[in-house]
Amino acid sequence: MASDFIAEPPREYFVKIIIVGAGQVGFNVASRLATENKEVVVVDRDAAALKLVSEQLDVQTVEGSGSSPAVLQEAGVQAADILLAVTDSDETNLVSCLFADMLSPATKKLVRLRNDDYTNFENNLKERPPHIDTIINPELELVRTVQRLLDVPGAVDVAEFADGRLKLIGVRLGPGSPLAGKHLWELPRKTGGYGFLIAAIVREEELIIPTGRDVLKAGDLVYFVTEQNRVFEALSLFDIKAETVRRALVVGGGRIGFRLAKALEEKNIYTKIIEKDPRRANELAENLNRVIVLQGDGSDQSLLSEENVQDMDVVITVTSDEETNILISLLARRMGVGKAITLINRFAYLPLVAAIGIEHVISPRLSAVNTILQHVRRGNVLTSVSLKGEQAEAMEAVAMETSDVVGKPLKNIDFPKGALVMAIFRGQEVIIPSGDSVIHPMDRIVILSTQKAISKVEKALAVKLEFF
């Protein structure tokens, strides 16, 4: 009797997650999951890093190396649903997964790997021990993010759903924008009714999921959804002209810079890359064919003007030093470059850079956090993307027949506050919904939700799935 009383109550949404590595990625994933009421245990060797975690987050901490089986056992790996190995060392991550596989084969394992040598063996790692479920390569994700940004001119943030057929695009509303001062209910008249929906507004660092009564203001960061082939029509609403990128300059020839240059080269974009280290520059030149490799300091103004930086459509700064990246981007903007994409790793900088005029920010760590969260989501949630400032997430999910959201017009659904259906996919059809739209069973829906509403949305989508 006593032990029954003390034993765990069977909880429907009980998810226990072990995070190995309390670095920036580990910390941020832990912070997001802890606010969503998941049980999180963070393992790290560094007592100081753990102290920071335990002081700020409602999670358990275990001091010790994540690659040690004894430590994993102490962290309760046998009872864990998911193990995230996200230390900075690929080797530690792999060994951690290996032992987790031995101790608890049922635990899902997600691992952050950066070295190509390892990621090339992705299939082997999945099929044989350590049976890794998902390998996350933040650098690869990053290159994809840059490509998406380049595809949509004027966009600050771009997310894709349904293999890219639906886009969620964030644009900054300039002071002269024709939409400034308009109510949202006035918009359908301008768009002529085709699929276009404003999903979120970021105003003064705060995210608003708008209703028809909200007014757009100059300076807002507006997120809208639209179909792939309507992107330019939608952008024209914001007075943004369709320009394709033809010339690009990459500053920094590390792993990310190299991947980027290679990707740009494949898209027939005229690309230059600047690298400081002569040996690395040589390596780059060996491996890149049409890209012009320049050896020099990216913050050197004379080098930039020598290479006609003002004629570039985009400058992408991806050196390992984020302060340098910020400075080079600012410099390039001043010299007349239309678009500067800046790599920033430290999360603390993200809210600041917009204030100094750097709009396009990419962050491998943020990409890693997003990708990890995508895989941790429960139920039938397929992908998830977080918006700028991380206050909201877009989730793609299948509407099961038993779900609460099926079979009623959207306006009659008691949807959690702070959440919004952005799109419905039915077969090949893409529907940008209005209040009268009805979700059918097996439709795929995209939902935008604030952090607070996420667990409620998860319930609304999957509450009845548990009975299958």
Binding site: A2, A34, T35, N37, V40
Partner: protein, 483 residues
């Protein structure tokens, strides 16, 4: 400091205490005590009303994250508020001549001290007697811990509160989430309380007394429903049950949790539990030998009274089955030292805590060892694990603060005209949340001889002891309030 957050949570705690008055109210109605029921109903109305008034306008901030500082302010102010509102039934019931006396009794209850101003306890209506026991039960595991277990939204902010209310030298979280930890602790607490009620009833105690005593044993409180405390039952069985449950209450509750989960060996493996239980055995043996033949004729009664008194004082409960002032000086000194040692960390007991005492000894020995081997690398270890130097120095700091405040408060009390032994023991007994002291506040007396200002001082001492000094004292430091 965001005052909205502070008032919201203090209001919430107050509201909680108001709600809990429903139990004694029901009891009063059952025993047809019209006057007491009216008093409790009015008190409940006032408490709920004030709680709602504080919480209402600022409720939105209750679910937000709190800073470390706000956590400490909320906990201390919350405990003060709870003490004040807990005193209302005593005040309205005309139990004491002045409100300070009611407040003393209430704070003594919530902090599980068990020092009383009542000379004729049995004259109180049962509703108020139950309230007197219930506040000890609520305060024992902690009001914050209780609200964490019940209120879902105290997530991130709750953690700061938990740390301020349950300061532990080496923090241990049973569960990844603070809310689950709190729930588990309360379940263990509830289970033990229920078990004790049953066992006491087997010893022919009536339900009311059994519940009241279980409510004051598990939190190591010490309020009794009888004038002469547990002595009045004259039952070896009752004494035995009490000793066992006082010991249980004096052990770290995370160990209980693990034992109930089917790992009984943890009790023996845990160095602190070993130290605590070993200390209990040694002291019982010493006191038994000391009082045998001098006070008690038979060895069995010497053992019975010695063990009860040692456990009662060491776990900081404060029940009495014998007038230990008539015992030889050795036994009295042992008991006074027990007041300082206290129970285990993570238990409901007070005092300096066994874990700290243990580590202080190890630390002192390490310093000696270093004199012999100046070049040795000798970290202090506990259960095979190295104790970080930061933890050691904070324990030294705690010890100094404890002893320093003990000295200052005793001097202050004696300056009010209280005699030497009474001053020293009254402060030790209230800071350690024990209850009875020696001389003027001895086991057969009560605290009514303490002058008015002294009562205020002792109220402060009780809060200091319950919240382990820092959380309270920090509010008196100007730096804390600086923007």
């Amino acid at each position: 400091m965001r005052w909205g957050h502070v008032t919201a949570l203090v209001g919430l705690l107050t509201f909680f205490v108001g709600l809990s008055m429903i139990l004694p109210l029901g009891c009063s109605l059952y025993f047809r005590e019209g006057e007491a029921a009216r008093v409790l109903l009015v008190s409940m109305g006032i408490t709920l009303g004030c709680g709602a008034l504080l919480y209402g306008p600022t409720r939105k901030s209750a679910s937000e994250a709190l800073s470390h500082r706000e956590g400490m302010a909320i906990v201390t102010l919350g405990w003060i508020s709870v003490g004040v509102f807990g005193a209302i039934p005593f005040h309205l019931g005309d139990v004491f001549p002045s409100f300070v006396d009611s407040l003393f009794e209430s704070v003594s209850g919530f902090t599980t001290t068990g020092s009383s101003l009542l000379s004729n306890i049995e004259a109180l209506p049962r509703g108020l007697l139950l309230w007197r026991s219930l506040i000890q039960w609520l305060g024992g595991m902690g009001i914050i811990v209780l609200s964490l277990a019940i209120l879902p939204f105290l997530g991130v902010g709750g953690m700061q509160l938990y740390k301020a209310e349950v300061p532990s030298p080496v923090p241990d979280k049973l569960k990844p989430r603070i809310r689950d930890t709190a729930t588990v602790l309360w379940k263990v607490y509830l289970l033990f309380t229920a078990a004790q009620v049953l066992l006491l009833m087997l010893g022919n105690m009536n339900l009311f007394d059994a519940v009241c005593h279980a409510f004051t044993t598990m939190p190591t409180g010490g309020f009794s429903t009888r004038n002469v405390s547990v002595m009045s039952f004259h039952s070896a069985w009752v004494d035995g049950v009490m000793v066992v449950f006082m010991l249980l209450a004096g052990v770290n509750f995370s160990l209980h949790y693990q034992m109930l989960k089917g790992r009984p060996k943890v009790l023996w493996r845990d160095p602190e539990a070993r130290f605590f239980l070993g200390l209990v055995l040694v002291l019982i043996a010493a006191v038994t030998v000391n009082v045998h033949g001098v006070v008690y004729e038979s060895l069995s009664s010497a053992f019975r009274y010695a063990s009860f008194q040692v456990v009662s004082i060491l776990t900081t409960t404060g029940y009495v089955t014998a007038d230990y002032e008539r015992w030889p000086a050795f036994s009295q000194i042992v008991l006074v030292l027990c007041m300082f040692v206290g129970a285990s960390a993570g238990s409901t007991g007070g005092g300096i805590k066994c874990l700290r005492v243990m580590l202080l000894f190890k630390y002192a020995y390490r310093e000696l060892f270093r004199l012999v081997h100046p070049r040795s690398v000798s970290p202090v270890k506990l259960g095979g694990r190295v104790v970080p130097e930061a933890v050691l120095s904070s324990i030294c700091g705690f010890f100094l603060a404890y002893v320093g405040l003990f000295a200052i408060c005793s001097v202050l009390l004696s300056s009010m005209g209280v005699d030497l032994l009474t001053s020293l023991s009254a402060v030790a007994a209230t800071m350690g949340n024990i209850g009875p002291g020696l001389a003027g506040v001895g086991p057969m007396d009560n605290f009514s001889m303490i002058p008015l200002a002294g009562k205020w001082l002792l109220i402060f001492c009780m809060l200091l002891g319950r919240l382990e000094i820092y959380t309270v004292i920090i509010l008196l430091v100007p730096e804390f309030w600086r923007k």
